[in-house]
Symmetry: C2
Subunit: 353 residues, 2 copies
Amino acid sequence: DYKSLDKLIIGVIGGDGIGPMITKQAQRIMEFLLKKPVEEGKIEIRTIEGLTIENRAACNKAIPDDVLAEIKKCHVLLKGPTTTPQKGDPWPNIESANVAMRKELDLFANVRPVKVEEQGIDWTFFRENTEGAYALGSQGMNITEDLAFDFKVITSPGAERIARAAFDFADKNGKTRVTAVTKANVIKTTDGKFLEECRKVAAEYPHITFDEWYIDIMTAKLVDEKRRKDFQVVVLPNLYGDILTDEAAEFQGGVGTAGSSNIGKRYAMFEAIHGSAPRMVREGRAQYADPSSVIRAAAMLLAHIGYAEEADKLYAALDICGNRERKLVMTGRDDGATGEEFADYIMATIETM
Amino acid sequence: DYKSLDKLIIGVIGGDGIGPMITKQAQRIMEFLLKKPVEEGKIEIRTIEGLTIENRAACNKAIPDDVLAEIKKCHVLLKGPTTTPQKGDPWPNIESANVAMRKELDLFANVRPVKVEEQGIDWTFFRENTEGAYALGSQGMNITEDLAFDFKVITSPGAERIARAAFDFADKNGKTRVTAVTKANVIKTTDGKFLEECRKVAAEYPHITFDEWYIDIMTAKLVDEKRRKDFQVVVLPNLYGDILTDEAAEFQGGVGTAGSSNIGKRYAMFEAIHGSAPRMVREGRAQYADPSSVIRAAAMLLAHIGYAEEADKLYAALDICGNRERKLVMTGRDDGATGEEFADYIMATIETM
Ligand SMILES: CC(C)[C@H](C(=O)O)[C@@H](O)C(=O)O
Ligand SMILES: CC(C)[C@H](C(=O)O)[C@@H](O)C(=O)O
């Protein structure tokens, strides 16, 4: 329980590209909403510098040691987009900072809500966030020049805790159905184990309907306007979660509009799931980047640390400003408002509440 | 070139559940359309018995040896749905017959067309069909009771030949764009190799635009009505192909309506991609099962072996009968036509052409 801490430390990690600019706006809004506890010394909001691709490349690490040490002093984190090098990029082949952070901080549950009221969609995805195809993602083996291996890992405790998180959430939020998604008909050993653990946990919640689908057919089901409404809580291994949540977010207006929370026992991290838009930076338009997604992640953070009222106000303000001003502020059209102006507008809106 | 063979042998594999019944209807139609070459002894159409879950379970093999020997005597195959056991089923944990067949016959290219004219969709997917997450799919390792491993394998020749198949197809069919889909930002070793081979082949086709996306965002892009039209040919590793083609088929009316072709150097296999509907069999309604999807697969087979005119007639008849009679024959409503009546209707329609 965060409220019982002497001082709760929120770290704000800028990241790359438009990241520092948009997280700064989210930070201003958090400072505004948390003014009292900050003044009373109950909460501290820290900016954490240095999680940039340049620094990471220089030390050839997904997260530089000193940055990781700073991060570990915090309790909850708000994170901007970070660059993931791939073959052909000028940087060494280091792991995604997101993926590394999830493992280093043991943020095992990636929780992504998707809601489209007009369409009756109200899904919450529980993506396992530390193992699966991501566990050894950047440590595959080149056996010969022509033969490459990668590994997928599932542990029973790892599968059990995400299944339990999904069922607990369903139980506490009046949900009546939990769906497990795997490819256990082909990837039998790991996905089989994942499914087995889900079934065991399901047996402890006899009042919640449990069903199972394969990931291939599940991507089709989300497209089916008649039947997709029936899904409520979905629990799935890392890679399938990555895939299905992006598809799901599209019905809500695209990945750029969604926030994602990464929850562990000790730490929690909230992030926007769009990229760092290096082109906007190159073209000198970073100040026009839309901060609304990372502000939404900040609202998730506020709810998570127990500031439900502040979170609700922020969600409400995002709804109002998002609707009224969407055309102006979206994706940085330079005839629109800057990110700073948008944040000002959000705060002004909250003041009227 | 099949036309140069002394005798081309087409094998028809019934499979499980409704399989034998629906493939029988497709076989009748093929016999009807290939009457002349069959009478002349240029083509033989054989029924291959025994690829049933009972037989496979009895010998604990994905494909019983004697059945595989019979299959290997054919050149092209039409296959009905086969049961894939999963944890908790009464059968041993044997591999999917589809997956085993793809590997045994080295059917490296899974080609799936998806076309929705009203929406401007005209996609052809080239799914690598023998390696990736499927290569050792049922041979993962349980290191301890709580720790499971699976493997993903990509070889350079394996990736290269599917990339080449995709670009060749694009080139020969006036397509201007080929898209490679991986998750090379995380699954760096294998997906990185796959992408590298795609890039190498792309360099040989400078007149074709080549682009790259990650599988997560790609599932979102297919939902985007404005931008999805732009995709033409998509090449991707096994598991991503499995996932994306099911999503794609949904826009065309669902997985049940789609056919899939599995192409190798020596063999080719055509199949419907729906299940074996054991419940229909249990309820005694197998004769009402809709054979249109496996008949579509038969049309793909006819085109593949060089009987383009016969294939076109069959496609046209499917369009006519599918539209006029769809409500009656779909998914075996027992107030509708039987599969046999539907096949009769298809042949009568072709006779009027
Ligand atoms: C950026 C990438 C490594 C990451 C992932 O694959 O998890 C992203 O797609 C996400 O879903 O947060
Ligand atoms: C039945 C299953 C093993 C198969 C696969 O995963 O390849 C199916 O989904 C397909 O796409 O043909």
